[in-house]
Symmetry: C2
Subunit: 313 residues, 2 copies
């Protein structure tokens, strides 16, 4: 039977899966990326992982697709990846192609997730949508006019670094007020600390350190009705909703799909986001733009999108 | 000889031109739009104008293209146009087609200008660019992946209504802090009045009323070295440059082309805009995004874009 191999190369771990043309994952494995010493070590584990998946199966491999950070899509390389133990320029496509003699496709991780949702998930059949991945930061992939929006140099769709508050929170990118400093797992925590600073609202969250607190703590506090945690989700949704209204002004998507750990908070995030989006939207966008949860989950979206690169080309 | 007829339908006047395939305007005329009583009166003047242009020439008309406000591009209609003396729904394409028996194309005015700059002007040959028209408001047309970005319902690219200052200036759209409340002829004036309010800087502009002041007054004051006027241009460029950095984060265009009355201020606006864009740009966009003046001028861009609809289809 025919399969594509999907690779989701992340800073912590690399996930592999055999996927059929309908988007079913029939086998999967993973290994630690952060424990690798360099790209040679990485490719050794990658090839072992692939060979392992192929070994036990009656498999005809059609091609290999991968999503990764810091990708140069035109060159098929991974360049200057801050969170990978790699040399400045790694020939990913060439190296994998030489080993397997098959078509190999490589896209940015955020684009892989968008392709996954587009072909197999919440955005199936859409011509215009955005996928926001709300994790430690905020990733984004955009489909406009039925095509991935790549930009002139392959760095388009950097929604995490749109300025939503001039002179606002310091961002890891060196600037201030970027969307991901408010809307991400880290942004939610920063909002909790801002609220602890500005308000007198009692909360068990006040007994945790900044370094010790996670989005999960805040989620659990909110679920048990903690006022401070609920306010933090409300403020996060307020800013995200305003940003989604701006996304509508720019792209007028059919939907904005939300994925990643923070999006798992469900109504806690979606309700204030949609409320804020509707208040901030232009008149002709009110009631028109859908805000949808990912139907694939963060991990599988990237794997399925990587496979879609094989099946849809 | 073969010509296209371009129409630039504006709230004040409607401009017509005969244009050859190289983008040369060989004849033009215009009539008042605001003096028309209804669409029937408008079409009477339009047909007279077209017939007049055709009469004296050895012309083979290939097709008719038009740019107008409030266009439904899919339907070929003009709908609920606030600034036109029209019924709620005007069958523009059908009516003109019936009269001349030729292909008729109709797009939004901002898209017509983008097409003009794309085929004949500052953005010639580009795959990714934005055109900003800085007049009373801020209009925008976007080409991404080599195609006009239309959005799901034909209202994409509303750059004038991106929020650049949460809770900022009231906008005609009913919201607050929209880009065009800062970056437009009106926005520049509002900035002058903010500076007169907040500072003690002496200026001849202080002797003019809000209703009496125009962007031209401020431009002339700035040219003669007036500190307040220069500060107003500087602040306008600061906000525009930050917005252009965000446009780069979203679209990563090769260039942002600026047209319209305010863009005629030249260095007074472009220098602080580029300075601010470079400070606010993401690291991989610094030094990469061009900010260019229109080479066609506001009026001819729309006319030439309307003609491009004929020549490029």
């Amino acid at each position: 039977m025919q399969f594509a191999l999907g690779i989701d190369l992340g800073g912590t771990s690399t996930k592999l899966a055999l996927i059929d043309a309908a988007g079913h994952i029939v086998a999967r494995s993973s290994f630690s990326t952060s424990d690798r010493t360099d790209e040679h070590d990485f490719f050794r584990f990658l090839f072992e992982g692939i060979d392992g998946l192929l070994a036990g199966q009656d498999v005809q491999l059609v091609g290999i697709g991968a999503g990764a950070p810091s990708v140069n899509e035109q060159q098929g390389t991974i360049e200057n990846a801050a969170n990978l133990p790699f040399s400045p320029k790694v020939e990913f496509v060439k190296t994998v192609q030489e080993r397997y003699g098959l078509p190999v496709h490589l896209v940015k991780d955020s684009n892989a997730s968008s392709l996954g949702e587009w072909h197999f998930g919440a955005a199936k059949g859409m011509t215009n949508f955005l996928l926001l991945t709300l994790g430690t930061g905020l990733g984004c992939g955009i489909v406009a006019n039925g095509r991935l929006l790549g930009g002139e140099f392959g760095h388009g769709g950097e929604a995490g670094h749109i300025c939503v508050q001039p002179g606002g929170r310091a961002c890891g990118c060196g600037r201030f007020g970027c969307l991901e400093t408010y809307v991400s797992a880290t942004g939610l925590k920063r909002t909790v600390f801002e609220l602890m600073s500005n308000s007198l609202i009692a909360s068990p969250l006040r007994s945790e350190s900044y370094d010790g607190m996670t989005a999960r703590h805040i989620f659990e506090a909110a679920q048990s009705g903690d006022e401070l945690a609920l306010l933090a989700f409300g403020k996060t949704g307020e800013i995200l909703g305003r940003a989604v209204a701006d996304m509508a002004a720019w792209f007028e998507p059919e939907a904005v799909v939300m994925s990643g750990g923070l999006a798992m908070a469900g109504d806690l995030l979606f309700v204030p986001t949609v409320d804020s989006m509707e208040r901030h939207a232009l008149a002709f966008h009110k009631g028109k733009i859908k805000v949808l949860p990912s139907t694939l989950g963060e991990n599988d979206a990237a794997l399925l999108g990587a496979a879609a690169l094989v099946w849809k080309q």
